[in-house]
Symmetry: C2
Subunit: 501 residues, 2 copies
């Protein structure tokens, strides 16, 4: 048995390494690759993807996983060994259902769709995307149908990213949250708009970068096992547990973009850097779900990075870094600026309160499109109407409407968005639990100390990688299940204080 | 047949892409990888190497090449198709003789040896390298013996890098060259040493980089299909014909290092960038031999980049870039400084005249070690003696003696060095031929125009990639065979004028 287990690990390590090699190719493409490298890089990425898929769906791997079933059952559920077999089997059984030619066709289609979108969005040309998006929707239904027995056709797609969640459970959760968010946003909208002009002075590039690096180094991002580079869209990527990189972008006329995207991506990265080194080279060496991953980026970005206590510590340093821009701006005013709530067009630029309304709109459309109760043809108009209803403002065009997010244009329709709001909900739930265990955490922040919080997150979440599912992680870390209460309380407390109601 | 030819191309494209993916991993490791990434990267590089080796030695590939023999014979020798089959077969027949387990063992050994060398060299610890180097020598003999029928045991190893050359032909060539070089170096050494103190002021990093980029852009390096980054040791690497990158390093207290290494690597890169795009994704899309490759780096670095005419054009710009350092230095003195001849310890820092003596010493030792007429144990002492004899100075230690070059410590012993001197010889031969065809080339340089020279090299050398062997390229480009005459004439003319004898 031990021989077979070693063979399993060797196979899984190759699959993991191929995935990581693909990540290096993608990182280079986004950071440094010259224009002439594009055509060959697409081919190279496809080749690595194909090799990884072949090895991931090799029938010998399936056989090995079958053979190891009794070994797995003889071991404790939470042992590394049993977890490895269990999680590898889950991945294998998922991948093996999708015929590899369909997978290849989809990758080719998705690549074309993405390329077209990079031009169609700036050109505000939804018509150009329509046939491609229709094909994407066909693929999405096809993929879902490889997993028969679902309650809702979106369920298998949700499962890919947030294992264990279903359309019905997400819908219920979102309805509860919406009921709390809408009155909160309403209450805030009756107050005068916060003034964030102090963030919109000229902030030189290098100083922004250096300040951001200083901050995340102090939060616990390990630059010996990572680095930061510039890209058009910020992201986190991993080549091994010893090399977890982040990227950012800089707007010299807006301080908020680089700083908060840096903290956001460092949250994703600290999760991956915190995984136990013993899990390296296995499918366990990854964050466990989209929602739990996003909970870490949002926890560090918002609950920590937009908090009063955090800035009590960091603001003097920020002021001395940018004396002309912020020297005369009071902490109170800066704090209001970085927490300005305003109904706006773009999800990624939305504040904490309205952000989830953007997600819910997209999630609902995904379900309707998959069900067939909404057609791609009618999507732009439906977006327009729903947006106006939810936000009270109308998107002036499709560019900042239905075309704004890359997800549907580079991947499947379905399962792409719920993780963002699940992450917000979980961020507050985990943070509340950490503070329950260590009441000094908020005061520590005022002193620039984040190690107690970081250690709690590492102990309860990060170290496990994918050993446990999202709901198991929540259960273990909080002794309970997913709940919106801490998140609603966090938002209500913070914003009622800020806006004085 | 066309079906089989298409299958061959598809297989070769995968092999080529795997090689290029490995190059991306290596480039990242040398440029940006954080320390924590090392262990996994070694594993990932080995995996790609192993996949490439499997595909390169697949018996089905051999079968295909056999089947295509009559098709090849039906086509003109210099057609892309016949060349592809011919060159692919040569590569296949070479690789397939080395058992893949021996290849894997050697890679593992070479990696360990290299790691040890990075510490042993600074520590001046040859004793630590000795057993490793002995194993390397055993591997080198073993590899050579997979190709029985050689005249000298070094021949197969020379063949790997400079196809068609043998120990005897290199030895003869080097003896002829030596006969001319020694008196020239002798004559120079009776003259007062040139003063290069003007190169040793403080030259800020960014300005050095910008100036170097400006220069190579004007020579013809295409930044749309390449880029330059910083590394410890400068190199050129290629991910596709559309992405040919170079690296450099900067010493702020010495102007010569960054500038000339930049031009040197751009020479390698212009060769690769100049290969016809139709050859992309095939084994033809590479420079044809170590010697021809080095001829291009040395041609641009020395014959162009250290010439009077080149600096007549660029010196005013260099002066205005560094007014404090060079404002008062006359062009004559700068020209003497960058062409200072001095017997010195380090090959890579040697001037044009003494450089080849460093190469010849190493080449002779490679032959003796492989023959068994010199043992690794006696190598340091032999180095010391020979160096004193050839250069009139004694290396004070092994660090700057037998340990100085990475080659024997990261690869085989044998075949590693002759390409450098072959490159020097060829650089002058090609340049003379280009000037014969376009007499305006030297004057063009005074005007900062390099396109005629670049176009001649592209037409006669670059575009062909590996379609033709080195000797075929020489034959086609010069209507003759390899000859030291143009090189000896170049050196004699330049340095007798410089040193006034």
């Amino acid at each position: 048995m031990e021989q077979k287990f070693r063979e399993l690990k060797a196979r899984l390590q190759e699959i993991s390494d191929l995935g990581n090699i693909g990540a290096v190719l993608g990182w280079d493409q986004a950071t440094y690759m010259p224009p002439g490298g594009g055509a060959a890089r697409a081919r190279q990425s496809a080749l690595i993807g194909q090799l990884a898929h072949q090895k991931s769906t090799d029938p010998d791997l399936g056989k090995l996983l079958d053979d190891l079933r009794s070994y797995e059952e003889s071991l404790p559920y939470d042992s590394d060994e049993a977890s490895l077999i269990r999680v590898a089997r889950r991945g294998y059984e998922q991948l093996v259902r999708i015929p590899s030619n369909v997978m290849a066709e989809f990758y080719e289609h998705a690549s074309l769709s993405y390329q077209t979108w990079t031009e169609a969005r700036p050109a505000n040309n939804f018509a150009k995307m329509r046939p491609l998006l229709e094909t994407t929707l066909d693929f999405s239904r096809k993929f879902a149908n490889y997993f028969p027995g679902f309650e809702h056709i979106a369920d298998p797609l949700i499962d890919f990213n947030d294992y264990g969640m279903k359309a019905s459970s997400v819908r219920k959760l979102f309805a509860e949250l919406r009921e709390k968010l809408v009155p909160l946003a309403q209450a805030i909208s009756t107050q005068p708009l916060a003034d964030d002009s102090c963030l919109r002075a000229h902030y030189p590039k290098d100083k922004q970068l250096d300040f951001g690096k200083k901050v995340i180094g102090q939060l616990g991002y390990d630059f010996q096992r990572g680095r930061q580079d510039l890209t058009h869209h910020p992201f986190m990527t991993k080549f091994s547990l010893g090399d977890v990189r982040i990227t950012t972008r800089i707007k010299e006329n807006y301080l908020g973009d680089c700083l908060f995207s840096t903290i956001h991506e460092s949250g994703h990265a600290m999760y991956e850097q915190g995984i136990r080194m013993e899990l390296e080279g296995t499918p366990l060496a990854n964050g466990t779900s989209a929602g739990v991953h996003e909970s870490q980026s949002r926890l560090w970005e918002n609950i920590v990075g937009r908090s009063w206590n955090f800035w009590e510590y960091f603001y003097p340093e920020l002021q001395s870094t940018f004396p002309n821009q912020l020297g005369k701006v009071k902490l109170e005013d800066f704090y209001r600026a970085i927490n300005k709530v305003e109904k706006s067009l773009i999800r990624t630029e939305a504040d904490e309160v309205t952000y989830n309304l953007h997600v819910m709109l997209r999630f609902d459309f995904e379900l309707q499109l998959l069900e067939g109760s909404l057609s791609i043809r009618d999507l732009p108009e439906a977006w327009h109407e729903r947006f106006e209803k939810d936000f009270g403002i109308a998107p002036p065009d499709d560019r900042d409407g239905v075309l704004q997010d890359v997800h549907w244009y580079a991947n499947l329709v379905g399962g792409a968005f719920q993780g963002y709001t699940l992450g917000n909900i979980l961020s507050a739930q985990f943070y509340a639990e950490a503070v329950k265990a260590h009441s000094e955490i908020p005061e520590d922040m005022q002193k620039g100390k984040f190690s107690t919080l970081h250690a709690w997150l590492k102990e309860n979440i990060y170290q496990h990688g994918s050993k446990f599912t999202a709901s198991e992680i929540v259960q273990r870390a909080t002794n309970g299940s997913l709940s919106i209460e801490p998140y609603v309380k966090y938002l209500t407390d913070k914003y009622s204080r800020l806006y004085g109601f």
